[in-house]
């Protein structure tokens, strides 16, 4: 169980135009915290900075300003401290087709993180863990699935493998970057349902990044609305959706397809 706190996070990118350059502020003074068994949703359209925040949290990029604290202590960026961080904070990527290497089997994808974080474990132990992980995400028969390669699985199955991989080091925080937006419609809720269940079983703190307001509302406790790198509104999920205060949130809620509107009109 871990807590991740983000304060005043800012990220600037330098855009080179010939000899001069301008700074693009992708993330501007964002703060939030992730606690066990709670889900925070980061809602925004493309260009809002949500993917950049994911990269900053995963230490794939360095912030220009602000700080990130894990369990109260500032995070470490190298050596044993970084290894500890990687054990605790994990990520599920958006594209199930791109996040698995087509050359390696499912088993290999799961074995690597297990071996990395349990260097003393025997081969048999690692393989047992792989089977366990696959069963947690309901990919059975696990032995057979482990032998398969990514192109032999469907999108939803691949995403579940990605979730299993994220859970391999027994993390306390999970960053889910648009985990279902590239999946077939009818299996999206299944995968989200699975994520919610795993969150409860593992006491995970989840950051759910999405552009879809509807799933954000039902999947998370708190919603942060991002616009051009800034948090324009935050609050409990139902409040933000049903009683939005900021103009942008209102525009978003208005723009999302909502059949209830039409049904209401038809009924007169």
């Amino acid at each position: 169980m871990s807590t991740l706190e983000v304060r005043g996070l800012t990220k600037d990118y330098r855009l080179r135009q010939g000899l001069r350059g301008t700074a693009l502020r992708a993330v501007d003074d964002v703060s939030f915290s992730l606690e066990p068994r709670r889900t925070v949703a980061l809602v925004g359209q493309s260009g809002s900075g949500k993917s950049t925040i994911a990269k900053l949290l995963m230490q794939l990029e360095r912030p220009t300003a602000g700080e990130i604290r894990l369990d109260g202590a500032p995070i470490e960026r190298r050596g044993a401290g970084l290894a500890r961080y990687r054990r605790t904070v994990q990520m599920v990527f958006q594209d199930p087709f791109a996040s698995l290497n087509p050359y390696h089997s499912v088993g290999h994808h799961l074995e690597r993180p297990i071996r990395l974080h349990h260097p003393g474990m025997s081969g048999a132990g690692v393989r047992r863990r792989v089977v366990e992980l696959l069963e947690r995400v309901r990919l059975t028969p696990a032995g057979e699935v482990a032998r398969r390669r990514p192109h032999e699985l469907s999108g939803g199955q691949r995403q579940r493998v990605a979730i299993a991989r994220a859970l391999a080091p027994e993390p306390g925080i999970l960053v889910a970057d648009e985990p279902v937006s590239m999946l077939d419609v009818s299996i999206r809720l299944g995968v989200l349902n699975l994520l919610a269940t795993l969150q409860r079983e593992e006491d995970l703190g989840v950051l759910y990044i999405t552009h879809d307001l509807a799933t954000a509302r039902h999947f998370s406790d708190e919603i942060l609305v991002l616009y051009r790198g800034q948090v324009v509104e935050r609050g409990p999920a139902d409040d933000v959706i049903l009683r939005p205060r900021h103009d942008y949130t209102k525009t978003l809620a208005e723009a999302a397809p909502n059949p209830e509107r039409r049904v209401g009109q038809a009924r007169g």
Partner: protein, 321 residues
């Protein structure tokens, strides 16, 4: 409650069935093109490997100068009475040796400067890229001529070295571009997030995806080497004292074979040169189809998988051949 290992728990069938990952190599699908290339290339390779053991001494001179093919000399003799077939066998070995050496050296150099540089990023990438670009710009032939004028008696190895030095830069550029694109793929990022060491990511995640491109670049380097060496030898800048297709053509030219109508002297080496180049190119096209799946769609092999009548094909505007 975090995941714990239930060591004492009895395992189901699924546990015993998973015995660990096995890596499978993606061979290119066998098409007529690939088969032709492999067979042709294979035969010439065989000739180069075994031929020299089966033929007479290629350097032995006798009085039968410029004799046309006969029972004693299957491919006739050169101006000084040397057996052409024997020379051809040794020449094939020589050319293939050069091809192999250059292929290997080019692979190592371009992989180092291209892949490692692009993967490392930052100043390493800048420096390696600079070196690559400089080598690319230096003109090859003048460099060879300069080196040749300093070393009058060139061995096979020196020629191979010179060809490698002038040839690796093009490959390195291509590999760099592809590695840059692979570096930002999600599965590489996922490995970083999982905590993998950087060299391991390069070896385990990126390299396997580079194999088709590397193979294609190596084959291309071999073609370049063999043809390049032939060109150099024809100009008299080649490996003196060794037999290669190029040196055979050089001596044939010097011995006025064309003017004297001694076709058996220059046609065999020229023919083998062309055929081997063609064989390697065919293999390369097949490898290209792995790299770029879009090239696969309209190949003859794909269309054979269709079950359409001539009339349907005509209606669809496709060639009915």
């Amino acid at each position: 409650m975090a995941l714990t290992i239930q060591a004492a728990e009895p395992l189901g069938d699924s546990g015993a069935a998973y015995a660990g990952g096995r890596r499978r190599i993606a061979w290119p699908p066998m098409t007529a093109k690939l088969a032709a290339g492999l067979i042709l290339g294979g035969l010439i390779l065989l000739f180069g490997l075994i031929g020299p053991f089966l033929v007479q001494d290629p350097s032995r001179v006798n009085d039968l100068g410029l004799a046309s093919p006969s029972g004693a000399h299957l491919l006739g003799t050169t101006q000084t009475g040397q057996d052409v077939l024997a020379q051809l066998a040794y020449a094939t070995r020589g050319s293939l040796t050069i091809g192999a050496i250059v292929g290997l050296l080019t692979l190592l150099a371009s992989a180092f400067f291209g892949v490692v540089g692009a993967y490392a990023g930052g100043w390493v990438d800048e420096v390696f890229s600079l070196v690559t670009n400089v080598m690319l710009v230096i003109p090859g032939l003048p460099l060879v001529i300069v080196i040749s004028s300093y070393v009058p008696d060139k061995s096979l190895w020196l020629v191979a070295l010179v060809l490698s030095i002038t040839g690796w830069a093009g490959s390195a550029r291509v590999l760099r571009g592809y590695t840059l694109s692979l570096r930002s793929r999600d599965y590489v990022l996922a490995s970083r997030v999982a905590g993998e060491k950087r060299w391991r990511i390069l070896a385990v995640e990126i390299l396997p995806n580079l194999v088709p491109l590397l193979a294609s670049q190596v084959v291309f380097a071999v073609i370049f080497a063999i043809l390049g060496e032939a060109g150099l030898s024809y100009l008299g800048l080649g490996a003196s004292g060794s037999f290669t297709w190029g040196t055979m053509l050089y001596y044939a030219q010097n011995g006025l074979a064309l003017r004297l109508g001694a076709w058996w002297w220059f046609i065999p080496p020229g023919l083998l040169l062309a055929l081997f180049g063609a064989a390697l190119s065919l293999i390369n096209f097949s490898i290209d189809e792995i790299i770029n799946p879009k090239l696969r769609v309209r190949t003859r092999a794909e269309r054979r998988g269709w079950r359409m009548s001539r009339q349907q094909l005509r209606q669809a505007g496709e060639a009915t051949l």
